[in-house]
Amino acid sequence: MIKFKKVPQAGLPRLRLEYIWLPGRILVAHLFEVERDDTGAVTQETEIASEEFSLSELAPEELAEIEVTVLPANPIVIAETDESGDLHVTVVDWYDPEYEQPPTAVEEVIDE
């Protein structure tokens, strides 16, 4: 079981993150560049980078040490397993403070 939580964070200018879970506790973070018109409406989103984080090797009660190599910032706040081996992952949910209100923190449970 994976308990996945996204907490709002003002992102880098004109950048947005999305996350996808792949089998084997692999988290993929996709980085998008966001273009807006003069009114602030999003006109185009272009994926400019992505990075995989494999969390399958964590032993129970182990805290993952994350280092990014592609993304401009480490999107994973914390990734650790509890005593039962469930994976708890918290990531940042980027928004543009110039145009958007902070999103609500979201927590979901993913059955493996």
């Binding site: 964070q9 003002a10 273009e35 003069d38 602030g40 480490n74 706040v77 918290t90 403070p97 110039e98």
Partner: protein, 430 residues
């Protein structure tokens, strides 16, 4: 002929010839019909047939007097079958017959007939009364066939009618020295020209001059550089200044395609654009995205200042930029204003983003048990790893920061018990 004089003792008028000589030369009564007596020998067509009626009247011919009180009908010769002719009705004085007779002299029929010549010899002298047109095969006469040829005895009325309007020799105004209408118009034009001629020798008051004349006169007396000439501003004609048309000519980039490709280095003519240049065109302001700007260009000699104003002041990219061209080199763009100003961001703590790129975040107070960690997710991500600091609320608590990233920092309390503290991170957000 022999000498003769009359009236003297022993001299007499012995015959018609002497009477004719005496009357024509002594009294000079002209030949003609006397007006207003009987029917004035008027010739009119009879009601039918080739007959004319000659009215009665009084006439004088060569000094001989005739009076006829009644109308005399005269029958014309039968008409020609092929051509018309003109007959002449006369009052004939005949010495040999000893009197007058009203008669018709028949003309010759011809395609273009002419009237007969009246007899005017020593015996017979005809006083013409009328010409009668006799058409080929004519059976009757009409008024239009009669042409009056009477000569009036007095001569004055005849003479007057001859020179009257419609007469055979009408008098014109020029004949009596009167001015013609065209002459009067020409004279009026001459008068007008004279009146309008400002160089005429008469006195011309300002009231006689039109405004343009007065202005011209003032300019003559005033000379150049007086400031009175409104056609110029500071000695320059209007087209020397920036007008909308001139700006259009100089910038000519009011379409999206032109705005995105036109090199900002080409904008060196002074003026204010009323349309747009785009930041992603060559040498545009380095805002990182395509945004439209108005451009103000100020130039002195070969020195230029460009100022770029945002198209719409509602986005984070609304910044005012300037740069200069001096000694052949463009400076870098410098941001002189940023509508983004200071962004305040709330979350787990607070952050402030400054236009310069400075970002300060703080969290206070946060708590953690001794020996445990507290991972602080910055409300706003840093562009690079920030510097982190903070302090404990309670004296004697020790803590440490580690694992600082652009998004988080972990705070670990080293001493036992509950810890409270204030955390702070300073770094760049762009």
């Amino acid at each position: 002929m022999s000498d003769w004089e009359y009236p003297f003792r022993g001299s007499y008028i012995l015959d018609e010839e002497q009477w004719e000589e005496w009357e024509t030369n002594m009294h000079g009564v002209p030949d003609g019909v006397k007006r207003g007596i009987y029917g004035e020998f008027e010739v009119t067509p009879a009601s039918s047939g080739l007959v004319v009626n000659v009215a009665g009247g009084v006439a004088v011919v060569r000094g001989f007097y005739a009076r006829r009180e009644s109308v005399k009908p005269l029958t014309l010769q039968p008409p020609d079958t092929a051509n018309p002719r003109i007959d002449l009705v006369v009052l004939r004085r005949s010495k040999s017959s000893g009197g007058f007779v009203r008669m018709v002299i028949a003309g010759e029929a011809a395609a273009a007939p002419v009237a007969p010549v009246p007899a005017q010899d020593n015996d017979n002298w005809d006083l013409p009364l009328a010409e009668v047109y006799v058409a080929a095969n004519a059976q009757n006469l009409g008024a239009s066939d009669i042409t009056d040829r009477r000569i009036w005895m007095s001569g004055l009325a005849q003479h007057a009618s001859r020179h009257a309007i419609g007469g055979s020799d009408p008098l014109t105004p020029a004949d009596i020295g009167a001015a013609r209408a065209s002459d009067l118009a020409s004279t009026q034009n001459d008068l007008d020209d004279h009146k309008n001629n400002r160089n005429n020798p008469h006195n011309v008051t300002p009231y006689d001059m039109v405004p343009g004349d007065l202005v011209a006169r003032i300019k003559l007396a005033d000379g150049a550089g007086s400031g009175l000439d409104a056609d110029f501003l500071r000695g320059l004609a209007p087209d020397a200044f920036a007008t909308e048309d001139k700006i259009d000519d100089r910038f000519n980039a009011n379409t999206a395609s032109e705005a995105s490709t036109r090199d900002w280095n080409t904008l060196t003519e002074p003026g204010v654009s009323d349309y747009l240049m785009r930041s992603d065109a060559p040498n545009g302001p380095p805002i990182g995205v395509a945004r439209y700007f108005y451009v103000l260009v100020v130039r002195y000699a070969d020195r230029v200042v460009q100022v770029a104003y945002p198209y719409i002041a509602t986005t984070v990219d609304d910044t005012i930029w300037m740069r200069t061209y001096y000694v052949g080199t463009w400076s870098a763009w410098r941001k002189v204003w940023d509508s983004g100003a200071i962004l305040h961001i709330a979350g787990d703590g607070e952050c402030v983003r400054f236009p310069s790129g400075l970002q300060i975040c703080w969290a206070a107070p946060v708590s953690v048990e001794g020996g445990s960690n507290y991972t602080w997710t910055f409300p706003a991500v840093f562009f690079t790893v920030p510097a982190v600091s903070g302090h404990a609320v309670r004296d004697g608590d020790f803590h440490v920061y580690y694992n600082v990233t652009t998004t988080t920092v972990t705070w670990r309390a080293l001493t036992t018990g509950g810890h409270s503290g204030y955390l702070m991170a300073i770094g760049r957000w762009k």
